[in-house]
């Protein structure tokens, strides 16, 4: 039973390699990196568990995390899991209103929050009629902010040491909120079994060992973090945390990869594209890298080719899967990208812990060579969306044997050689910097602006940025806001990756005969 718990990854390595470095904070060249051993990480996460229990957290509860990426936030994650609760990580850089909505939506019992964010978050939570007690950390880094907060709490009211929960495989381990088409983010519920089945599959394919040094580039509210955290710690490797700021910064990132001698890299392709264009990779020694994994969006072939030229040694894997399934297909790039190749690489074949099939709009299985929607079943597939039974029902296709198949919304085709090729989406979701963005959520955000009468958003293909988002607005007469005012409004209500790149204005937006926005004709507007 215990080996099915996600935190068993840490416990097993700590028993084997107590004095090895579990987590290192990768900072700028100037700052000394914080680090923590396996033994200490177990101890610190045990203290979090005991404090949460003292606050009344029960198995099955949810606990929020509003902390920048740090040893503190890693220890918080494991402490929450050990208490038998599910962790709900939010983007510390996102507007307080959006984060409060998420924490109120899944009614967290408590949340660990950095002091600098606590005021606005608490105000927004109260506005929503929710007031969970917050555990405030003065700051994060090296685990010190967390230790200080626990010390303060213990001085007032000691938390007796307990033992970790024994979650069942289907119990929730974490909830990740993704963009929702109705304008509200929706919570994807993942269980211990969902995560562990994926982590165990990674062990087979990636063969991570205690001598590896793995990147943690994706933020913890993003599903790429599951591979980073649990695969690295399961095998006694060292996880190198890359903060939000330096993570976006190709000039600093190449130095970080070299300095920390990373052996395994995993990120969305967009930052890899920037790394090979602006990272001055040739000036750094990245020879320790043995695996480059990417997921989240299509990697433009010309950038992949350029990256391989600069870094010829590692093996390259394209991993594919929505948050609802995590990685469900994979493809190893065979050798070097040929000079003449222009089409993107396939998303590959099903991972061993899931099954896949391609269906037509009625749910009937299609033969190889025909385009259809990719569906996934098996141990990796989510439990559902938090508190959204109708969305959950719509997300699944139930077959004659009662098996639930998650409908990815991705149109694929099985190629003659076996792997799936990605064709496109069946709805209005796009990927931007690896994040999924429902264009409808941006529209809902724009409609909140008092001057906006009509809003419609489209995604435009862009060779450099991958996708650019263009918003068409019809505003109340004489009230058209400036571009700067609009961007500022968006920055205050939407995460950064949802802010439109371009705005266009019209007296009214084109409509279809049923009075819906005509997205086809919209594309023809200047």
């Amino acid at each position: 039973m215990a080996a099915t718990a996600l935190f068993s990854t840490l416990e097993a390595s700590a028993a084997r390699l107590p004095d090895s470095i579990a987590v290192e904070e990768g900072g700028s060249a100037a700052a000394a990196p914080g680090s923590i051993t396996y033994r200490e990480l177990v101890r610190l996460s045990d203290r979090v568990r005991d404090r949460l229990r003292r606050l009344g957290v029960q198995p099955g509860d949810r606990v929020g995390i509003h902390l920048r990426k740090s040893i503190d936030s890693v220890a918080a994650i494991f402490g929450i899991l050990k208490a038998g609760a599910a962790y709900v990580p939010v983007d510390p850089g996102a507007p307080a209103g959006r984060n409060a909505y998420i924490l109120a939506d899944c009614s967290v019992r408590t949340a660990l929050v950095e002091e600098r964010a606590a005021g606005p978050l608490r105000a927004e939570l109260e506005r929503l009629g929710a007031g969970p007690p917050l555990i405030e950390l003065d700051t994060v880094g090296g685990g010190n902010g967390l230790r200080a907060a626990l010390d303060r709490a213990d001085a007032d009211d000691p938390a007796p040491p307990g033992t970790s929960a024994c979650p069942r495989p289907g119990d929730l381990a974490y909830i990740l909120y993704t963009s929702g088409s109705t304008g509200k983010p929706k919570g994807v519920m993942l269980s211990h079994e969902n995560a562990m089945s994926f982590v165990n599959w990674c062990s087979e394919i990636l063969a991570v060992t205690a001598s590896d040094r793995c990147s943690s580039h994706a933020p913890f509210h993003f599903d790429l973090s599951i591979l980073d955290l649990y695969v690295s710690l399961k095998h006694g490797a060292t996880l190198v945390l890359i903060g939000e700021e330096i993570g976006k910064e190709p000039m600093g990132l190449a130095g970080l990869i070299a300095r920390h001698r990373l052996t395994v890299w995993y990120s969305a392709p967009s930052i890899l594209s920037l790394l090979c264009q602006y990272g001055n990779l040739e000036r750094h020694d990245l020879s320790a890298l043995r695996l480059v994994l990417f997921a989240g969006e299509v990697f433009p072939v010309k950038h992949l080719r350029a990256l391989q030229r600069l870094l010829p040694a590692p093996r390259y894997f394209n991993l594919y899967g929505p948050t609802e399934t995590n990685v469900c297909t994979y493809y190893e790039i065979p050798g070097r990208v040929p000079d003449e190749r222009t089409e993107p690489y396939p998303i590959g074949t099903a991972c061993a812990h899931v099954q896949t099939r391609v269906v037509d709009p009625d749910g009937a299985t299609l033969p190889a060579g025909q385009e259809g929607e990719l569906c996934v079943t098996g141990a990796g597939v989510m439990q559902g969306y938090w508190n959204l039974p109708e969305s959950t029902a719509r997300a699944f296709l139930v077959d004659a044997d009662g098996l639930r198949w998650y409908r990815t919304g991705d149109i694929v085709v099985e190629m003659p050689s076996g792997p799936y090729a990605f064709v496109g989406r069946r709805d209005r979701m796009v990927k931007r910097r690896g994040y999924r963005v429902e264009l409808g959520e941006i529209e809902s955000g724009l409609y909140r602006h008092p001057a906006v009468r009509e809003a419609a958003v489209v995604a435009l293909a862009d060779a450099e940025a991958g996708v650019r988002i263009k918003a068409f607005l019809a505003c109340r007469e004489g009230a058209r806001p400036s571009l700067i005012a609009l961007k500022g409004f968006c920055a205050a209500t939407l995460p950064g990756y949802m802010i439109p790149d371009l705005f266009a204005f019209a007296d009214s937006l084109p409509k279809t005969s049923t009075d819906k926005i005509d997205y086809q004709r919209l594309q023809e507007l200047p």
């Binding site: 700021e245 330096i246 976006k248 000039m251 602006y278 400036s482 700067i484 500022g488 920055a491």
Partner: protein
């Protein structure tokens, strides 16, 4: 300083705010936190500044602390000339 501000302002308006009334972009308008410069735009701006003014900007300087307004950027550039 004024000269640097004018050059940077012209570049930002042309690259990232096409069609905007120049009067709307003030010396203290928030560029990064105000949603005008995303991470890719910031990288392009840094490349422009390095090229145009013949300076080197360190990775850790390309952040909200050093580059959030035209005034911040002008100070950064000035300090390196």
């Amino acid at each position: 300083m004024t000269e640097i501000i004018d050059i940077v302002k012209g570049y930002i308006l042309e690259e990232f705010l096409p069609g905007e009334n120049p009067d709307e972009l003030g010396e203290t308008t928030s560029l990064i936190t105000g949603g005008i410069l995303d991470s890719l735009a910031t990288i392009k701006l840094v490349a422009f500044l390095e090229e145009r003014f013949g300076i080197a900007i360190q990775a850790h300087e390309a952040d909200t602390e050093h580059m959030d307004t035209l005034l911040d950027i002008a100070k950064l550039v000035q300090s390196k000339r």
